[in-house]
C-alpha cells in the first residue's frame, strides 16, 4: 500500500495521466481508503484549473525600446563585417 507521502509526491503525475497503469491502480486503491489524499488531489486539480487562467504579466515588454536596441545591434554587427 502506498503511503500518503508517496501519493502526495505522485499527485501531479497522476493528474497528468503520466503514471503506469499498475501505479495508477495503486494510487486509486489508496484514494478509495484515504479521505485526506482524496481532498489533496482534488485541491491540486482545482489549483491547476485556477492557475491555468492566471494572467502573467510581469511588466509589459517595451517593444519599441527592444526594437530600437535590436536595430542598433544589427547596425553595429554589419559595420564589423
Amino acid at each position: 500500500m502506498l503511503s500518503c507521502k508517496q501519493v502526495a509526491t505522485l499527485a501531479s503525475q497522476y493528474l497528468d495521466h503520466d503514471v503506469s497503469t499498475p501505479l495508477k491502480w495503486r494510487i486509486r486503491m489508496h484514494l478509495m481508503m484515504c479521505a485526506n489524499c482524496r481532498r489533496f488531489i482534488r485541491h491540486l486539480q482545482i489549483t491547476q484549473t485556477v492557475t491555468k487562467n492566471i494572467k502573467v504579466d510581469e511588466q509589459t515588454p517595451d517593444s519599441e525600446k527592444i526594437w530600437q536596441e535590436l536595430q542598433q545591434k544589427i547596425r553595429q554587427e554589419s559595420k564589423q563585417d
Binding site: K5, R39, H43, I46, V50, T51, I54, S63
Partner: protein
C-alpha cells in the same frame, strides 16, 4: 492575428509586425532564458535571439509554429551561453528545496501518513475562485517569485500547454526533473489558495 499573414509581414521586413511579435513573446522568452542561464545573462541572450530572428526569418519554413521556432532559438542561445560561461549550475542550485511545502517530511508521520488532516476548502469551485480578484493577484505574485526553472517549467506546461518532451528540450532538464519542477510549482500555488481559503487573504 493570423500567423501565416504575420510571418509573411515579418519576412517582408515589416517593423510593425516585428514589434508586435516582440510584445507577444519577449516575456516568455525571458522566462526561458532565465531558467537556463540565470538572471545575469538572460536579457543579453534574448536580445541575441531577436537579432537571430531578424536575420533568419526569411528561412523560417513554417514547419513548426512561429512560437515554437522562437522558443527554440532562445533555448539554443541560452544553452550556448551557458556552455560559454561554463558554469554548469545544477538544478538543485537553481531550484533549492522548498521547506514548508506540502512534501516537507515534517508534514508526515514516520509511516508516511499525513501528520495533520488535509484542510477543508469552503470554496471548491474553480469558477468562483477565478472571480476572486485578490486571490488572482496573490497567485500571480507568487508565480513571479518561484525559482526561475520552476517558473518556466510551470508556465510552459500549465499556461502555455507544451508537452513535457518539448519542455525538457527547451529548458535542458531531464524528463524526471521537469515533472518535479512542475509539481513543486503547483504545490506552492496550491498553498496560496489554501491560505486564502483559511484566512480570506494572503
Amino acid at each position: 492575428m493570423d500567423e501565416s499573414l504575420l510571418v509573411t509581414q515579418l519576412i517582408a521586413g515589416d517593423d510593425k509586425a516585428f514589434r508586435y511579435v516582440i510584445g507577444q513573446y519577449q516575456t516568455l522568452m525571458l522566462s526561458i532564458a532565465r531558467a537556463i542561464v540565470g538572471d545575469v545573462f538572460a536579457d543579453e541572450v534574448v536580445q541575441e535571439s531577436w537579432v537571430s530572428v531578424y536575420k533568419n526569418i526569411a528561412g523560417f519554413e513554417r514547419r513548426a509554429s512561429l512560437k515554437t521556432w522562437l522558443l527554440t532559438i532562445v533555448s539554443n542561445k541560452a544553452k550556448a551561453r551557458l556552455r560559454k560561461e561554463s558554469r554548469m549550475v545544477s538544478l538543485e542550485q537553481l531550484d533549492g528545496e522548498t521547506p514548508g511545502s506540502y512534501l516537507d517530511s515534517a508534514n508526515f508521520k514516520r509511516d508516511g501518513h499525513w501528520q495533520n488532516p488535509v484542510s477543508h476548502w469552503n470554496n471548491e469551485s474553480p469558477e468562483a475562485l477565478l472571480e476572486e480578484k485578490q486571490l488572482q493577484a496573490c497567485i500571480a505574485k507568487t508565480l513571479l517569485l518561484l525559482p526561475p526553472t520552476q517558473k518556466a517549467a510551470f508556465i510552459l506546461r500549465d499556461i502555455e500547454q507544451h508537452s513535457f518532451d518539448e519542455i525538457c528540450s527547451l529548458l535542458d532538464v531531464s524528463a524526471a526533473n521537469v515533472r518535479v519542477l512542475v509539481h513543486r510549482a503547483r504545490l506552492t500555488l496550491m498553498q496560496v489558495i489554501d491560505r486564502y481559503q483559511e484566512t480570506g487573504s494572503c
